[in-house]
Amino acid sequence: MTLPPGMSQRDFSAALRQLETAVGKEWVFSAPEDVALYRDAYSPFWDEEEERTASAAVAPDTVEQVQSVMRIANEHRIPIYPISTGRNLAYGGAAPVLSGSVVLDLKRMNRVLEVSEENAYALVEPGVSYFDLYRDIQDRGLKLMIDVPTPGWGSLIGNALDHGAGVTPMRDHWSTQCGMEVVLANGEVLRTGTGAMPNAKTWQQYKYGIGPYIDGIFSQSNFGVITKMGFWLLPEPEVVRALRVTAPRHDDVIKMVEIMSNLTYSGVIDSQFTLASPVLNGPRDAELEALAARPGGGTREEWDRYAESKDRPFWSARFTFYGPQPVVDARWEYARQRYSTIPGVQFEDGPTYRFPMSREQREQAPDKGMLGIPSLSNFTGRTPATPEVADGHMDFSVIVPMTGHDVLAALKVIGRDFAAAGVGARMGTISSFHLRTFILISSFPTMRADREFNRRVRAAYERAVKVTADNGWGQYRSHAAFMDLAVSKYSFNDDALSRFHTTLKDAVDPNGILSAGRYGIWPKDMRGSA
């Protein structure tokens, strides 16, 4: 059995008994088969000594119980690792960064506390999944659309805290959060924004309150346990209409991105758009590898000839418009006009969805994410077409500037690096996850029964972090097993930012009980040892 670092079995057992008194015996898990459910199912260290594993798990049902857990943890110096629904798959799942931590499983706190149709917001607890909020809204017949990441079983709060995203105008989940309740490491409860007023009336409508705006320090960090969070929602639109644009040549990306960034900053495009190259994202044959390996990476004429020989457009982009029909149609048409200036460009209209949609229409819609309908449709696993799949994957997500030059460079540099690594890393499409940058999400496969393969994957992942950072592209989110590495690339002025984080850590969590090591923030006595 894993124990918290430096703790005897006897002291730990005594602490567990106190936790049982706080939350109920059945909600403290210490049997090996129960604790194993908190392993990272996609761990790149599966069954190796370095795999991060918990010592136990505790699952409170109320804010008061969370406070009690914090007090007990401080008394016994037990490392605690809060999770919301523990579905941060591909970034470490429910497993703690520090082995031996007790997972604080908040899944039982799954209440939708308030939904306002008039002011389009929701207030939820951390165990509320996208499925939960969607059902609540649908069952009550409210004219609201939520924004969902690809799998719907995750937590709204957990996803927002990790800066996750969906596809609709409310896709940047952190930017849509408004007001939170936090249990600090010492067990004290605070509310941010106007929620600090005892008779608050705008907690979910006005973010800043008065004085320093602190919500951001609780994201990707370990300064408190979030027990409530507000989210802005989208009024159900009249219509959702998509537009696909393809352009034939290598250099068309310059103009394509120039137009999409201008349309974004002007408010014509307000939801996620994706940009992919059917050539650079497509199947890599010997001819492509030779071209990519050439000094300078091949000329545009050579690339154009290659694309033409494969009968593929070099670029493909998809936009989606949300809102009242005349407004959507005007924005759709304006975007089409702007792109018509690129010679050889082609357009595809739709799909288009009109609201309200019946339950049957919602169930049958193939583009569920685009419509704010949570699903698990990407959890297909093996199919007749792909009989062999990896057991898991680690995502690798890089922030790329919204320029054609950077898009080209990123696809070529990362594509070449992945091909050289030879571990089957898959380069994804480029998407406007957040408001003014692209994210290129790639994934590295992991195998539970092949340690040698996982070792090579880890080396390739670490190399990819270095290669991208050397080009000025940081990660927007990190896998739990590589957080120190991710943060080490944000090192301006002798790690001034990291040093500020640790100053805060020591002030708000002097015993270092919360999420040791999360996003490179370690308690005093563990610094430098990581």
């Binding site: 459910l37 996609y42 059902r135 959890f379 093996r382």
Partner: protein
């Protein structure tokens, strides 16, 4: 709400080979890329009820 759940489980309801132990194994061990479910997501008691419902004998009586 029951109609939604029933629809989602329809494929499982049609199976005639889901002995309770098998359901428990899939739920607590996961399969391929689908990770296991924790006891805060589905308790042992709920899992037992679900497994009994999907078990061959009760399954045939429902059809």
């Amino acid at each position: 709400m029951s109609h939604r759940i029933a629809r989602a489980w329809f494929a499982l309801e049609e199976r005639t080979d889901l002995v309770p132990e098998l359901n428990g194994m899939f739920v607590r061990n996961g399969l391929s890329i689908v990770p296991p479910f924790r006891k805060t997501e589905i308790s042992d008691a709920d899992l037992a009820t679900l497994a009994a419902y999907l078990a061959p004998a009760s399954n045939s009586s429902l059809q």
